[in-house]
């Protein structure tokens, strides 16, 4: 007797819901809906202040940092560049593809749409090539929106999404944000060798 697979219907439904949104109202509209939802989620969290960057890092380590709470522990690679070992949507993707073989149709179009320049991706410094799946449209703006509610040493911070890696190993680079944040593509490439996601934290003056 072979053992069956246990489906997580929350995962399955979420992924299929994205597909339905794309089918019914197009990739652009679906992208907007997911990003708006991410921003709304960020509005729900309380503002947090850390006395220093070290305190910020410590809060990641003990998972009290709001960003760590949504995506897990990222690691500081130096010069305010962070790497995230596991994609927070990894379990959903795994669960879905194990059962259905591949991700729903239309996800490719959605990813292309997310990477297009636009006012909202500009505001949160996301996309622009750093999107490798529709889940990036949720994760990246949500992290950036969370960052708007965090202060270090009394100063606001900003997150730049530098790159991301898909489950198949394909890397996506946001050259616009790499350049604007003063980083190099080589550094991002190296971070992505060992991580799924790479971003830069800027402490604003």
């Amino acid at each position: 007797m072979t053992e069956g697979k246990i489906l997580d219907i929350a995962h399955i439904s979420f992924l299929d819901m994205i597909k339905i949104m794309i089918t019914l109202s197009g990739a652009a509209s679906a992208k907007g809906t997911l990003i708006r939802n991410a921003i709304k989620t960020a509005e729900k969290i309380p503002e947090v202040s850390y006395a220093s960057f070290d305190d910020y890092l410590a809060a990641i380590e003990n998972a009290t940092n709001p960003i760590a709470m949504i995506e897990g522990k990222s690691s500081h690679q130096g010069d305010f560049v962070f790497g995230l070992k596991n994609c927070p949507f990894g379990p959903s993707i795994k669960n879905y593809t194990e059962v259905f073989g591949k991700l729903p149709e239309g996800f490719g179009d959605f990813t292309v749409e997310f990477n297009k320049p636009g006012p909202v991706t500009d505001r949160y410094c996301v996309g622009e090539g750093a999107g490798v799946s529709p889940f990036c449209a949720v994760h990246q703006p949500m992290r950036s929106a969370f960052a708007e509610r965090i202060k270090i040493d009394g100063k606001n911070i900003k997150i730049y999404q530098l790159g991301c890696k898909s489950g198949s190993g394909k890397k996506g680079f946001a050259e616009k944000w790499i350049e604007e944040s003063g980083n190099s593509k080589d550094v991002v490439d190296k971070v992505l060798d060992e991580h799924m996601c790479c971003y830069y934290l800027k402490i604003l003056d």
């Binding site: 197009g26 652009a28 636009g118």
Partner: protein, 384 residues
Amino acid sequence: MLRGDIKMKNVLIVDDERSFLTSLSEGLATYDSEFNTLTAENGKKAVETLNSTRIDLVVTDLKMPEMDGFELLAYMSRHHPDIPVIIMTAYGTPEIRKKAHSMGASQYLEKPLDFKDLVDKILLELAASSEGYLRGITLPTFLQLVEMEKKTCTLKVTSRGRVGYLYFNEGELIDAGTESETGEQAAYDIVCWDEAEIEIERRCRQKHRTIHTSLGHILMESFRLKDEKDRNNSGNRIIEIQDDDVNGLIQQEEQNLELSGKEAKMNTLKDILNEFTKLQSVTAVCLVGRDGFLLDSIARTGIDTDMVGAIASSGFGTAESMGRQLGKGALTMSMIEFENGPVMFSPVGENAFLVIVAERDANLGMIRLKLKKHCHELAAAASI
């Protein structure tokens, strides 16, 4: 009996059904602190009243014996052009109702009458005339009424020494003539004449049809040409217009815009959006990215334009998906009609669309015209 108070407004109701007039007079008597109600059984009697008493508003039926509503309106265009008019008509079909709304529903009431609606419109019109607006029936409105009621007639239109003729057969404009033009070109000229006086003859004097374009199209195109002429007269480059096809005209304008790129860049996004809010009964205009995030907007207080953009993105995307599913090609325009007015969507470039929120009496033809006219300017101004 009329009150002595010079400020008291007088409303003349014209209808050939005596029982209807009586019950209406009785009902409106409760508003005698607001206005006096006078009645007339046909156009002829209404003319007598108009010439003997100061009337502030006429509410008239169209189908009446002796002198019908059209003849009364034509008479008023010559002798009492400033008196506002509300027309009572049995629309009959949803298409006619839609057309009446597009003409400015504030001037129309559907039979059988909703009494509250009638009172609201009377009070609204009287208030507007107190504020100095001239709301008499215009020639384009009159022509649309002729079409709507499938009237056969010849109209003699006089304006500032010019004379023109419009020939209608069962509501269809079949021919037109002025001293210098005939057919469609004459119609384009006539319908834009200001201060037009109308005479109506109950037969169509032309048998041969030379105009095959719909009245709606002629009206829209005439407004456009007039607008263009006005701009040229105010110092802009003169454009020779010979192609009567609307697409040809729009293409010509697009080329013109490309040539005068500086002029296009001079227009800020707000200036262009303002062109829409200048139109009667347009309450909001929003330029929205395809993802539903607002790029710019002008709206009346109380309208959450961010939310409008988000919701409209879904509606716009759904309309596009439907078009794709049905093999209808690219979306050029989408309109949703609500009880209190329409919402229109139109693509602007590849990454944005325009949402126009209007009230029930908005002139949809003018909105469409503005959309076609400013689409490329909007895309350029928004740098999309």
